[in-house]
Symmetry: C2
Subunit: 111 residues, 2 copies
């Protein structure tokens, strides 16, 4: 059993205003899926992209939108679970005044 607080994991700046922490991943020996926590500064977005694997997202804090393949900006907030199936274009954007923090899980070995 490995226990650590997510803030004790080193954060990587993916792009301006977007910070990622891999809280359970290769280092812990995760066999099937990887847990990351991502933070968006106000106004910041994750990249608009798609890929042949899913995301499972859970919003921990803040007010955001989740853009889908059709271009809709769906509001999401604390307590929302978001399933993005393989192949669907997506992007999360911070629409609030504070940080947006969300968990985003992916299969092992895809990144």
């Amino acid at each position: 059993m490995i226990i650590h607080h997510y803030e004790d994991v080193e954060a990587v700046e993916m792009m301006k205003g977007v910070k990622k922490r891999v809280v359970i991943g290769d280092r812990e020996g995760a066999p099937n899926f990887i847990m990351r926590i991502i933070e968006l500064e106000p106004g910041a977005s994750s990249p608009l992209h798609d890929h042949p694997w899913e995301h499972e997202i859970f919003v921990l804090k803040g007010e955001a939108t989740a853009r889908n393949s059709a271009g809709d900006e769906n509001p999401v907030g604390e307590g929302d679970a978001v399933f993005i199936p393989p192949g669907e274009e997506h992007r999360l954007t911070n629409k609030g005044e504070g940080v947006v923090r969300f968990m985003c899980l992916i299969p092992t070995g895809v990144e």
Copy 2:
């Protein structure tokens, strides 16, 4: 893209004081891993057990302990990530006065 608040997902009572919601699973077509949210009432525990697949846990709220194979009761709280490798005996117990809420992910198809 499927979005829903975890409270809008039906909760199942696994045992007295232990409630489970499958927030992203077979219904959503999750290909590789399943996201569940589990709540423990004060004093309640998840079952002491082991199985040949991992758990990836993230504590959302409350004060708990995570028991490992050696019998140690490790304190965990909001923001802690817990990796339980395949085969390790484990149990979470609510040691606080409020609800403990944690996310617990498993591979698809094991339950």
